[in-house]
Symmetry: C2
């Protein structure tokens, strides 16, 4: 696109009026300063690069997660928090081990390697791997209909696609995720020897997407893997031509003893209501295939950056602003549970809790539980944020970690971000620093900093 000066001028003046006008309004001015800070500083993006590139993926309970925890502790300190402490928590220690391998073999079509990865929490296959015929299903209920006679001794292939018609891709994910979380136990009920799950992504490529499974304690555990969508499609095509083809796969994962770990807390004490807390946070643990950039290094870095921006502008909060960097969101949610238990035991008072765990893509607004006493005020803030593209001030908010606080009547909030690309990266080898755009990240940091400012009044 080339712009002719005359055309540029008109639209420029119109938009300049919207985006750079300095109104008399104090809140508008403060929010403008917050965005200017965020968009002219490269600090948070550099910190995310360090986290992703120098520390790397941070599987809960791993050594790298421990280094990540140390790193955010240090960042909270340099940011200027007046109180930083760790909340201890025991976490699971599941490891992938060596890279997994898989292939399909058909007497008609030949042999083809498949891109797979073990699901988080899965047991390993025997060291020689497992091999079997494939029963392809698209739901847990279809599995039930087929029954033991069809399934026993075979490998179940859950091939339900995420539905591309959902505009918000989290809804498509929510609809497809049961095959990953429950598929192994449900298939084992009918005597399956293993399960293969279509990766939960709308992208067509060779990257498998992991994620946690939950074994039913009463059922024999069977090894479960995710398969890349392109290979899932190929497997499905081959099965049409040769239903008797066999798949073999080998995984090396192991569950070690739980290890001690921490949630990290950094606070700026409130001057008027020091015992009332505005909580903002993300989770430092990640999956091991990528670098935990979008999920959720960015949520951690944005939480810290939101505080840094307020402090750099000389802002002194009325309420205590508390950044909580949770551990173990991906596997056991022990961090979220531990924080909630500590909150209950020590009678913490939360004005609100905000979780950043939907990726650092373009921010579009916020969600807040409408039971919150702040909800009415919240909806009136939209005009203040609209110049920054934050148009959506909707009912309903939360996150996995802060979700455990809902029993304590803590109002929950989340930052709403563009979800179109999120599942391209989610839980896969593509969740790396290179797939983070600095401006998108920093618009999110500014959005969060601004909403904390508004919540603090």
């Amino acid at each position: 696109m080339t712009k002719k000066p005359a055309i540029v001028c008109l639209s420029f003046i119109l938009l300049l009026f919207n985006t750079l006008s300095y109104s008399q309004n104090k809140d508008s001015l403060m929010i403008r300063q917050i965005f200017d800070q965020a968009l002219t500083s490269h600090l948070a993006y550099t910190q995310l690069r360090n986290l992703c590139k120098n520390i790397g993926p941070r599987l809960t309970g791993s050594g790298q997660a421990a280094v990540g925890i140390e790193y955010v502790h240090k960042l909270l300190k340099t940011t200027g928090c007046d109180s930083i402490y760790n909340l201890p928590v025991m976490v699971r220690n599941w490891e992938r081990g060596e890279k997994e391998t898989a292939s399909m073999t058909s007497s008609i079509l030949g042999t083809n390697d498949l891109h797979i990865c073990a699901l988080g929490g899965s047991i390993a296959t025997p060291s020689a791997g497992i091999q079997g015929q494939i029963i392809m299903v698209d739901s847990l209920s279809q599995l039930k209909k087929l029954g033991r006679q069809a399934i026993e001794g075979h490998i179940v292939f859950f091939n339900r696609h995420m539905d591309p018609r959902f505009i918000r891709t989290f809804n498509a994910y929510g609809r497809a995720a049961d095959q990953r979380t429950l598929g192994a136990s449900e298939a084992a009920k009918y005597g399956a020897i293993g399960v293969i799950i279509r990766s939960l992504t709308l992208a067509d490529n060779l990257y498998p997407h992991t994620g946690v499974l939950r074994y039913d304690t009463a059922i024999t555990r069977i090894p479960a893997v995710a398969i890349a969508t392109r290979d899932a499609d190929l497997l499905s095509q081959w099965l049409k031509k040769d239903p008797s083809l066999r798949v073999s796969y080998t995984t090396h994962c192991s569950e070690n003893q739980p290890v001690p770990s921490f949630n990290v807390v950094g606070e700026i004490k409130g001057s008027l209501y020091p015992d009332q807390v505005i909580l903002v946070g993300g989770h430092i643990d990640s999956w091991d295939l990528g670098e935990g950039a979008q999920d959720d290094g960015i949520g951690c870095m944005q939480s810290i950056e939101a505080l840094r921006i307020l402090l750099s502008l000389g802002y002194k909060p009325n309420y205590t602003i508390r950044c909580v960097i949770f551990i173990d969101e991906e596997i056991g949610q022990a961090g979220g549970r531990a924080y909630a238990a500590w909150s209950l035991a020590t009678k913490q008072k939360h004005r609100i809790a905000i979780e950043l765990d939907a990726g650092g893509l373009l921010p579009l607004g916020f969600g807040m539980s409408d039971k919150s006493p702040l909800f009415e005020a919240f909806q009136k803030w939209q005009p203040l944020m609209l110049p920054y593209g934050l148009y959506n001030f909707q009912k309903g908010g939360g996150g996995v970690d802060i979700g455990f606080l809902s029993g304590q009547n803590v109002p929950l909030m989340s930052l709403l971000t563009d979800s179109q690309r999120y599942f391209d990266y989610h839980h896969s080898g593509l969740d790396v620093f290179e797939n983070v755009n600095e401006r998108e990240m920093q618009l999110g940091s500014a959005a969060v900093s601004s909403i904390i400012y508004l919540l603090d009044r």
Copy 2:
């Protein structure tokens, strides 16, 4: 992010209600069908891949542009247009020639290669290149202040940054683009032997971004290049330490005789008002460094896809829907001018003209000139489009190609897309197919198809 089923359920039901509810409203139903079509078809994305990968970049007047024109002609045919024709136009034929080279040499700091590219329309350097001391400025007015004494015999380095504080990056671009379009002629006035322009991007990397310059006919032409932002920063740092450092560069571009080319037009004849036209289009020409994916292969493919979707749903338009694929937007705008001249000569009646030339990133709404008789109705369509994230129904719309129609009182419109990443790719080697997300592209196709449907009532 892991979602617990309970949490998913609540937000899922709330959002499902918004996004998938089938209201009694006919328009809502039609728009839902349009989005379902767009999000479940891979056709347009595949066509964009063909255009980018098999045809490649399409500099106006080039052989590849001619192949691109043939390709869209074929696509319009298979889409089911009932009338397809070419509008002839002569276009410039500027070529880059061999890859450019540049370096800076300092007696203190050594030598360093620089990543540059000739600006579109520039003359070449002599075959041995040019070499000179650098005068760094950040505006045309600073150049004027320095005057001939400072500038004569030197190379002017325009290093004005795009301002990252603008939320809509097109505004930052508009503010910085004069150095590229006018810098060479302004510097030549004061006896400069060449100009180097900081690339117009907010990204920090080694990709130079080209774009057209305009030589003042009264002034001696001097060779102009763009420099990658990271090298611009390095050059600026070196200059602080050694103001007498010298830069040399060699370019091989040439301006050949104008060649015949075409705008391509495809129509679906209106059943009620066949002589009144809803125009939608993009431009097929591109810069030569990438593949012309975002700028503007995607605008062409989305225009054609918007028609395909309506036809595939059995829709019979009231007005004539005309897809115009313009040529020569980037260099001489001959295509836009020729269309406007033809429109005037043949007394075309345009109900509206929509240009898609802001990239295929997340669509956020539409702009329409408020002088349009449709503007009042337009603003009432927002609730119909909001479930698809199209919240912004703003005053002011247009585009370079359709801009030439404004003298004929044609109401102008544009699709508004997320601009955060647009200038990362724009006019550089990064404007390739890999940097297009299929969902973002198809949400745009559906948005355009829907607005055509609404405009057609």
